[in-house]
């Protein structure tokens, strides 16, 4: 099925046939009418992804989007590629089977905070552990949208929802911390409304060979409106957002007047941006410990001091590449399988 393979300098896409024909956003827009609520953050993400795909120059037919169930999981219907809107929480498992058998495909998973972290949490952490060559976009609106507004595993503690009239009781997951604890090789966070940032993260995620985990803060204007206001509002965002860039000092604030450094007892702490010992971000470090420490800077309740960008991006052999290598090796070593010889075995007898 594969043909022209041009190396576009993206290991994650090596083996996926490219095309020379120019592509536009329209090429990736399906004929299906989009059915999200007016104002939903999902629209912004869809537009950005559709706008970004042409940059990769992949053959449209070799791109697949697989989702679970949830508002966000309607995503594949709107991409003019191959796609599957599967069942709740199972997209990473389904994508694993597809990616392991089809190195010529660019496989994307779209999931939500409920789909990916509640019912689908186990498949998600195992996919990251195996490092299957997938890009996972987790739309985190900190609520269950499609089922009309129950709290989710990322909702702040004490959240009042239909299912928690006196407030939710459990501490939310920090998806980035969880991913790092699950041996993920690529972990990033971005925001629905920041087209440029989202695009840059998508680019890096696509380039990464292995499981790229991308948490996207997404506004549900019906059931959790303004959940990320502090990170979007002109007046607050500069103070609240910490933009991580590889090999750059970790500074933030209107005029980078704040920074992050390590204190005497070894914990990360905020400091003046001018301090000499401001931490320089290293997304490629083999040890995920610093990335993990960065993931803890954000206040789980208010989201103050939330780092966005690429926390971790390291190389590790992917599950699918190794699987294919074993097949190849077996064939090379013992020769292609001979069915007749196989079923005959060595202990036979003949009756005339």
């Amino acid at each position: 099925m594969t043909d022209t393979i041009v190396d576009i300098g993206m290991p994650g896409l090596a083996g996926v046939p490219t095309t020379d024909e120019p592509q536009t956003k329209k090429d990736f827009t399906s004929d299906q009418e989009v059915r999200w609520c007016p104002g939903c953050g999902d629209y912004a993400v869809l537009a950005t992804v559709q706008g970004f795909m042409p940059e990769l120059g992949l053959r449209r037919e070799n791109v697949v989007f697989i989702s679970g169930i949830g508002c966000s999981s309607r995503f594949p219907y709107y991409m003019n590629t191959y796609g599957m809107h599967s069942i709740h929480g199972r997209a990473p498992a389904i994508a694993t089977g597809l990616a392991s058998t089809r190195p010529d495909l660019s496989v994307w998973v779209v999931t939500g905070d409920g789909d990916g972290l509640s019912i689908g949490g186990n498949h998600l952490i195992h996919a990251m552990r195996r490092n299957v060559n997938l890009t996972i976009l987790l739309f985190n609106n900190r609520i269950y949208g499609l089922t009309k507004g129950q709290y989710s595993p990322t909702s702040e503690q004490g959240k009042i929802t239909k299912s928690t009239p006196m407030g939710s009781l459990d501490a939310p997951f920090n998806p980035v911390s969880l991913a790092l604890g699950a041996e993920a090789t690529f972990v990033a966070r971005t925001i629905d409304s920041d087209r440029a940032h989202l695009t840059s993260v998508l680019r890096a995620a696509a380039a990464h060979r292995g499981t790229s985990f991308v948490e996207i803060y997404q506004n549900c204007n019906i059931y959790n409106d303004g959940a990320f206001e502090i990170l979007k509002n002109r007046d607050t965002r500069d103070e609240a957002l910490i933009r991580l860039e590889h090999e750059h000092p970790i500074r933030f604030g209107a005029d980078l007047d704040q920074g992050v450094r390590r204190n005497a007892s070894g914990q990360l702490e905020l400091c003046a941006g001018g301090e000499p010992d401001v931490l320089v971000h290293d997304a490629h470090h083999s040890d995920p410990s610093v990335a993990f420490a960065l993931s803890r800077l954000a206040d789980a309740a208010t989201l103050a001091h939330t780092p966005i960008g690429i926390f971790r991006d390291v190389d590790r052999p992917t599950y699918d590449d190794q699987m294919n290598a074993q097949l190849q090796h077996a064939a090379d070593a013992q020769g292609e399988g001979d069915l007749a010889a196989l079923i005959t075995g060595n202990d036979t007898w003949t009756i005339e």
């Binding site: 809107h85 498992a93 597809l98 058998t101 077996a330 202990d347 007898w349 009756i351």
Partner: protein, 618 residues
Amino acid sequence: MSARQVHQLDRVVIRFAGDSGDGMQLTGDRFTSETAAFGNDLSTLPNFPAEIRAPAGTLPGVSSFQLHFADHDILTPGDAPDVLIAMNPAALKANIADLPKGATIVVDDADFSARALKKVGYDGNPLEDGSLDAYKVHAVNLTGITAEALKDFDLTRKEAGRSKNMFALGLVSWMYGRPIDGTIRFLESKFANKPEIRDANIAALRAGWNYGETTEDFAVRYEVKPATLPAGTYRNITGNLALAYGLIAASKRSGLPLFLGAYPITPASDILHELAKHKRFGVRTFQAEDEIAGIGAALGAAFGGALGVTTSSGPGIALKSETVGLAVSLELPLVICDIQRGGPSTGLPTKTEQADLLQAMFGRNSEAPVPIVAPASPGECFDAAIEAARIAVKYRTPVFLLSDGYLANGSEPWRIPAVDDLPTIDPAFATAPNHQNGGDPEFWPYLRDPETLARPWATPGTPGLEHRVGGIEKADGTGHISYDPDNHDRMVRVRQAKVDGIGVKDLEVDDPSGAAKTLVIGWGSTYGPIGAAVRRVRRAGNDVAHAHVRNLNPLPANTGDVLKAYDTVLCPEMNSGQLRMLLRARYLVDVIGYNKVRGLPFKAQELATVIKDVMDRD
């Protein structure tokens, strides 16, 4: 052969029994191979505890392997052993009840100490208190003699004693004139890099043979002539191995790469283990984090154009049920193998049962029909795998294959088919648009083949056929999301019609005289016991018919006519009457059930009696 007196026998049932750690399964396997190589027909029944190694010398720790071999074709591992090899008091205690009077017992009396006896609840020593007078007992210090025989090896007595199973095998091989060179070759390769162990085992095996040859203890040898089976090349095969080979064959004959998504579970795990060995055949095995991921990955692979397979047993199949429903909705090929075991819940993991038929039929939300095939013998697992794949690919549907613990681990001689005689399977992938919208060509993923009602299978990578599928109801044809009431009703009917319309072979009836008034109908692994029982009833001069269902959904077109052609219909099942219910509902025939759920296959004699009783009713 020694000048020892030789008795001719037409059939022998022998059972090896000992601690889980005594290697009884291996011993049985080897004796089976020798017997197969010798050319007898045979049937085996391994039986082991769920614990890996329950403490030595205890009843729960006893593991056994039964083999039935004969000079004619046989159908079951035998009702009762003619010979019991017991490696300790526990093995004797646990199995004695199954022995008919007059049976032969070879027992290792190395440790019949008061302690050992008490451990299993013997008050006295059965070897001395006369309680075994009704049997031919050979009390031999297998452990001691083996240790003696190996004293020149640099092994502790304890280590040397471990070879006693090989000594026993040698002895029994001598008794029945089995060739042991196959076993020697086996030991040479198995312990290639443990020469000390290898040589010790071989020495023990030979010592056992010579022990029979030289001691006076064994006055007679027995001879069971080779069986005359249909011409061909044979091998011995277990159900799980045949199933694994069948899947590889289906992959080869369809040109679809095989992808197995599975999570280990007894008694299905060996299929995963076997397929994992055959990467050179392009077989991908994925040990998933759970059963849901296993079937999910298989479905994802199927979407990509692979032959997707998932294997499990009852509890795991229950977990897969939601995803089976998705596969029904997506209409993608998928083979789901359920190696049934005792339930409910964790139940009896290492025992057999056939109680998942209704789970396979109805175990998911809403109307989601799935075809079901069920092999009737270990060897048939090969054909069933190919048949399941054929239906899955041709009709774009998930298919259940129902095997069970008895077929999975039991073995029989299998006539090796010629590869070219195997059916070919045409994936018939969609490669071009199948609809015109005004001038523009379009691809409609749910535009069906008018004859099979199968939808086109367009895999990613095919230009121009980009499309999305999902679990929400789809518009007939375009496949777009549709909440239209009439469309939903139509789709429900179409999915049902597709499965109902699958072409399956007519039900064959074995009714030699044509005069039978009673029909015995069964499915799955009861084939052997029912067949053997029917023979007995006939030998006793009665007419009885036997039909065995291999396609359980859809049922063969002639099933109703067959049932209605008999006054009495009996359906023995290792469940509470599942096929019986389906037949009664569908054909309104008063099918009688005989249902035992003991975790063990039926005995031929038991069924023969039941059949006779039923016949005498009217």
